[in-house]
């Protein structure tokens, strides 16, 4: 429907949300599936130039939360505001049109389609006008290849169906797409889950670049180190409810790790796994497996 080319489409991050108000705001939001209460009473603000990290156990409700933000689910209760205006998204298209781009945990890719078509799906580049308007396949192929390479991935051919990519390659594709079309808010659901060390680094760098460009970023991760490296604000969700909501200044990495994993239990685990360390073993490995 709408034909945005990434350069002209959205109001640039910094002047889009005037000054101080949060771009996206949730108030007392909850979501139930049948008799299962996945989420309740969530308050969240995403401001410009801010990385909000959402952390929590498996099944806590993190993905459900971002699916609400990105318009894939409607909340069962509570209020959702964008730029201070209450909204009711019935499709992700509307969220996209408000400048909210998302990388889903299940990646939202079409397995049978070629890599480049997936990259540009929903935001295809065209050339020509009137009845002769057509896909600019050459340019799309080139851009897709470039963007993937920038993230440290080189695929055999961008014409290959996505189903032949490795798990991490798929994830990079989804991230590269969201970053390329990135708007005012970038939402990443466990972006580094299947990524190698190098690719993870690149993604975190992009997150921090996005912050500096004035975007609001929502980052979900299970890795407190990743979170602490880039996050400005931390939200921990437990059994569908908010357990912690703190700015970076009021929190330490250890504190955060303990919140994420249930404290004392972790220490026990650490000792249990303790085994003959090699001489070169890093003395700080006590923190090292904080992220286990």
């Amino acid at each position: 429907m709408s034909t945005k080319s990434p350069s002209t489409s959205h109001p640039s991050g910094s002047d889009g949300a005037e000054g101080t108000g949060p771009i996206v705001e949730l108030r007392g939001v909850g979501k139930s599936f049948g008799n299962i209460r996945a989420l309740s009473g969530i308050d969240l603000k995403v401001g410009t130039g801010e990385v909000t990290c959402i952390l929590g156990d498996n099944g806590a409700g993190k993905s459900t939360l971002i699916k609400i933000i990105s318009g894939l689910h409607e909340p069962s209760t509570g209020e959702y505001r964008v730029d201070g205006e209450p909204v009711r998204f019935t499709s992700p298209r509307e969220a996209l049109d408000h400048g909210i781009a998302t990388v889903y945990q299940d990646l939202a890719i079409v397995q049978l389609m070629p890599v480049w078509r997936n990259f540009f799906l929903g935001s295809e580049l065209t050339t020509g006008a009137g009845p002769l308007r057509r896909l600019d396949t050459g340019r799309m192929r080139t851009i897709c290849d470039q963007e993937l390479q920038k993230m440290g991935i080189e695929v055999a051919s961008v014409d290959m169906p996505v189903q032949n990519l490795s798990g991490g390659q798929k994830q990079v594709l989804a991230i590269a797409r969201a970053i390329y079309f990135g708007a005012r808010v970038l939402i990443l659901d466990e972006p580094t889950a299947a990524l190698g060390v190098k690719q993870s680094g690149v993604v975190l760098k992009y997150v921090s670049a996005a912050r500096e460009a004035g975007l609001g970023v929502v980052l979900i991760t299970h890795n407190p180190h990743h979170a602490f490296l880039v996050g400005d604000h931390f939200v921990v969700i437990k059994l569908g409810e908010m357990e912690l909501d703190r700015p970076r200044s009021e929190l330490s990495l250890e504190h955060l790790t303990h919140h994420m994993a249930g404290g004392a239990e972790l220490d026990a685990l650490e000792h249990e796994l303790e085994r003959g360390q090699e001489p070169e073993a890093d003395p700080s490995h006590g923190v090292g497996h904080g992220q286990t």
């Binding site: 429907m1 034909t3 990434p6 350069s7 959205h10 640039s12 991050g13 990105s70 894939l72 499709s91 992700p92 298209r93 996209l96 049109d97 998302t102 889903y104 299940d106 990646l107 939202a108 890719i109 079409v110 397995q111 049978l112 389609m113 078509r117 540009f120 799906l121 929903g122 935001s123 295809e124 065209t126 308007r133 057509r134 896909l135 396949t137 390479q149 920038k150 440290g152 080189e154 055999a156 051919s157 797409r177 970053i179 390329y180 079309f181 990135g182 708007a183 190098k198 680094g201 690149v202 760098k205 992009y206 670049a209 996005a210 500096e212 460009a213 975007l215």
Partner: protein, 355 residues
């Protein structure tokens, strides 16, 4: 914004080009071999060769013209049905919808004594309406399109007979050959050109035109990209902002449009329409699309493939007649040839993938 990010973010150097290390060369010919419609093309060639060898009359130009005509009426619909199927849906009502369109135009013109083009216009509205209703029911109720369009199929089948009977008092429409506009309409929908002994029918030309348009739409437009996407993974397509519902309705209406077109051909070629016709053809359309490489589950296939699929069917059906094979066995031979074409297709694909 992307520029901003792109310039700011560093681009880690690939350490040794992966492509160079791991990807073997693939010649243009081999690329062609692995295209989805190539297998069916070979299937078509095999069927053609079989009949070329065994049936002497099959070798004449005039025979080719008959074969092409028989293929084109199936093939026109197969184009629209293939698009729909790539988009992940079925339309079982396509066969009778053709007749509905022809009946509407025929009766409208006759009863209101209008120019036949007016009747054709009314039929177009009805046909697009049927497609629209199919699509709306689908997206509103989320019932599988198989059931929606099966209901539509049965209802149209009933309506065709009942309404015709009610209006004309018989189960066929009146002859409209002497009405205003018949000649021009007949030229558009059912003309016949003779080029050096070779009879070229209008439907054959339209078939190729629509195949080209369909291919263009599918491969070179945004809508085409969306069709593949919603057929491949509706939820993912929705998540990245593809207007899934609009595309689905559009696809059903495309089938409606094509049903109208073929219906007009039926009307202006045969002057009257039997209201009981069309039943069973929906399977032929689907068959042509699937033989041509479309996946029943959606998300994969080409228009060219569907065209080839229809051609295989047309060749087989007429080839058996040209070969003079015992007519009692006709369906058996059709089935056997279909199986042959399909097996050749499967074999070719496996070979192509091995390289």
């Amino acid at each position: 914004m992307s520029q901003a990010l792109a310039s700011r973010a560093p681009s880690p150097e690939g350490n040794g080009s992966e492509k160079a290390v791991r990807v073997g060369q693939r010649s243009l010919a081999r690329r062609f071999l692995s295209r989805p419609e190539f297998g069916s093309l070979i299937g078509a060639v095999v069927v053609f060769c079989v009949f070329f060898t065994v049936a002497e009359p099959f070798r004449q130009a005039s025979s080719l013209s008959t074969v092409l005509y028989a293929s084109s009426t199936i093939g026109l619909m197969a184009i629209a049905v293939a698009l729909l199927m790539i988009g992940g849906e079925f339309d079982l009502s396509a066969g009778v919808a053709v007749i509905t369109s022809a009946i509407t135009a025929g009766m409208f013109s006759y009863q209101f004594s209008t120019n036949v083009w007016v009747g054709a216009g009314a039929a177009l509205l009805v046909s697009l309406g049927i497609g629209f209703v199919n699509g709306m029911l689908l997206i509103r109720t989320r019932v599988p399109s198989f059931l929606i369009t099966l209901s539509m199929f049965l209802m149209l089948q009933g309506l065709n007979v009942a309404v015709t009977k009610l209006v004309t008092g018989s189960v066929a429409t009146r002859n409209i050959a002497d009405m205003d506009g018949f000649d021009s309409a007949s030229f558009v929908f059912a003309a016949e050109f003779s080029i050096g002994g070779f009879n070229l029918r209008a439907t054959v030309i339209w078939w190729l035109v629509f195949a080209a348009v369909g291919t263009w739409v599918l491969l070179r437009t945004r809508v085409g990209n969306w069709i593949y996407a919603i057929g491949g993974n509706k939820e993912s397509a929705r998540a990245v902002g593809v207007p899934v519902n609009k595309v689905k309705i559009g696809l059903f209406m495309t089938v409606g449009f094509m049903a109208w077109f073929v219906g007009m051909h039926m009307l202006f070629q045969y002057n009257t329409v039997q209201s009981g016709e069309g039943v069973g053809n929906e399977l032929l359309y689907i068959m042509a699309a699937v033989v041509g490489g479309c996946l029943l589950t959606g998300g994969y296939g080409t228009v060219i493939g569907a065209v080839i699929g229809a051609f295989i069917y047309g060749m087989t059906k007429q080839g058996i007649v040209y070969a003079g094979w015992d007519n009692n066995w006709v369906m058996f031979f059709v089935g056997a040839m279909l199986l042959t074409a399909v097996l050749v297709n499967a074999w070719v694909r496996t070979q192509a993938n091995k390289r």
